[in-house]
């Protein structure tokens, strides 16, 4: 049976995808700004964050209306509640990209401490995790969602190796490198947090598809 409610769900879905595309683009631009030491691009990331904030509020309103006016059940209810959570995660991801752009501005006028190797790698992992998490949401792909969750440990290892390198090879040996090392440390931290948020999206997607709570219980995924 045709339901006009489906049109409203579709609209919310489309807006979440738009939000995902905008958040992913902000990660890409922030990291490009770092690689190319491009202050204009960094400022563009910071200046466009308000658009993502506005879309977050639009999606939130849509979700509240859908809940209040349609009394959704089962899969519809899980879609809307998951959509609300994904919406918040994407907004946080965009905020973290903005934080990276702020670090880029701090670094832009100083010579690079070292050639960037692991940070672009971590950036690529974070973008891929966000993209895959959203793909798993769109395609209701539980396996892809699991893959996202498990790839978080790779991001953690890379972040640790960036931390160790910056702390032991630079900051402890020569304290004067701190002003250039700390923003890089923060960037690694922000990128790794983006990966965490992609993982949270994926756990919510699994809840939406299977009505199975895996948040805080990742061991259930290995069974």
């Amino acid at each position: 049976m045709k339901r006009h409610f489906d049109e409203d769900l579709k609209k919310m879905n489309t807006d979440i995808l738009k939000m995902a595309a905008m958040s992913e683009e902000s990660i890409y631009k922030a990291v490009e700004a770092l690689k190319n030491r491009d202050k204009d691009l960094a400022r563009a990331v910071i200046d466009s964050d308000y658009k993502i904030d506005e879309l977050e509020l639009v999606i939130e309103e849509e979700a509240i209306s859908l809940l209040a006016l349609n009394q959704p059940m089962a899969v519809d209810l899980r879609f809307i509640t998951t959509g609300m959570k994904i919406n918040s995660e994407l907004e946080r991801i965009a905020d973290l990209s903005e934080n990276i752009a702020q670090c880029v501005l701090q670094l832009a006028d100083k010579p690079l401490l070292k050639p960037l190797v692991n940070i672009p790698k971590l950036a690529e992992i974070s973008r891929k995790m966000v993209r895959d998490a959203i793909d798993s949401f769109v395609n209701l792909d539980e396996e892809l969602a699991k893959k996202v969750i498990f790839s978080d440990s790779e991001a953690d290892k890379l972040r640790n190796s960036i931390y160790n390198k910056l702390i032991y090879d630079y900051m402890l040996k020569d304290g004067s490198t701190a002003p250039r090392a700390v923003p890089l440390l923060l960037i690694a931290r922000h990128l790794e947090r983006i990966c965490d948020h992609a993982g949270y999206i994926a756990t919510n997607v699994i809840y939406m598809i299977k009505a199975k709570v895996v948040k805080h219980h990742l061991e259930r995924l290995r069974k």
Partner: protein, 277 residues
């Protein structure tokens, strides 16, 4: 029966363009209720109601039992005229014309305003004849025209696919939900502009209810619809605007999305959250 009107209201609404545009929102106002009071003998059932209803929208009327919502609905096609000792004050204007105007033909008014009741009430006739009935009593004899109108009305009521092969069977052979949609088709056949629905789904099962609700969503593209329901969730699902009545007063009227998420008045919030009523 006395039908009393405030003359200054009548004169204000007569001679105005048929389509009134709400200046604030630039939407066409189809129905305008002005300073409207209604009495059953000495008991006042509706108190100073002011309301504008836009064309091609669904207005849900909610409120506890005895708040006046059904009385209000029955005012739009003057169904209450059949009750002795009633009295009106104020005006209800449809396309700018006061329906209490003495020169107004009440048969014309009721032809223009279809009504569907809580309990489906098909005539003891065939499915086809139920829908054709309104056309026949309006003097239409052209068989081809009637046949075309019947099929179109049944399609508009989302019933055609279920009955097209059994049009000559009794209307009573249909299920409750189908009978209710048949009554809607019967109301549509005479091409009204406004539809009044009085608890149209309260006697139906959830699937039949969902079908009627989807139908209402489709019908608003062509009609202006006023629905009375004691099922608040139904009002939330089907209506664009919601009017909350309480003890004969219109407490709040606003977009349904606003009424059900952030009502302006505490009494509305208490009612929709089930704190009283």
């Amino acid at each position: 029966m006395t039908v009393k009107m405030k003359t200054h209201i009548t004169s204000r609404t007569q001679g105005v363009s048929n389509k009134i545009v709400d200046e604030n929102k630039e939407n066409i106002v189809k129905i305008s209720v002005k300073d409207f009071n209604f009495y059953y003998e000495k008991s006042q059932a509706l108190k100073n109601i002011n309301l504008k209803i836009k064309e091609n929208t669904v207005v849900g009327i909610i409120g506890p039992s005895g708040c006046g919502k059904s009385t209000f609905l029955r005012c739009f096609n003057r169904m209450n005229d059949m009750i002795s000792g009633i009295k009106y004050e104020g005006a209800i204007c449809i396309d700018g014309k006061n329906i209490f105007d003495k020169e107004l033909d009440i048969v014309d008014l009721r032809r223009n305003i279809g009504m569907v009741f809580q309990k489906s009430n098909p005539f003891p006739k065939t499915i086809f004849e139920n829908v054709a009935y309104g056309l026949r009593i309006n003097g239409i004899r052209n068989k081809e025209y009637i046949s075309e109108k019947v099929s179109r009305s049944l399609r508009n009521a989302a019933l055609w696919d279920e009955v097209k092969d059994r049009l000559n069977q009794s209307a009573f052979s249909l299920s409750g939900g189908q009978q209710q949609r048949l009554c809607i088709a019967r109301a549509l056949a005479v091409e009204p502009e406004v539809l009044l629905l009085d608890e149209p789904a309260s006697a139906l099962d959830p699937i039949a209810t969902a079908k009627v609700e989807e139908l209402i969503h489709e019908l608003k593209k062509k009609y202006t619809i006023i629905i009375v329901t004691h099922n608040m969730q139904q009002a939330a699902r089907v209506s664009d605007y919601t009017a909350f009545f309480m003890m004969g007063e219109l407490v709040e009227h606003d977009l349904t999305s606003k009424i059900f998420t952030k009502p302006s008045k505490k009494i509305t919030e208490d009612y929709i959250t089930g704190r009283f009523g």
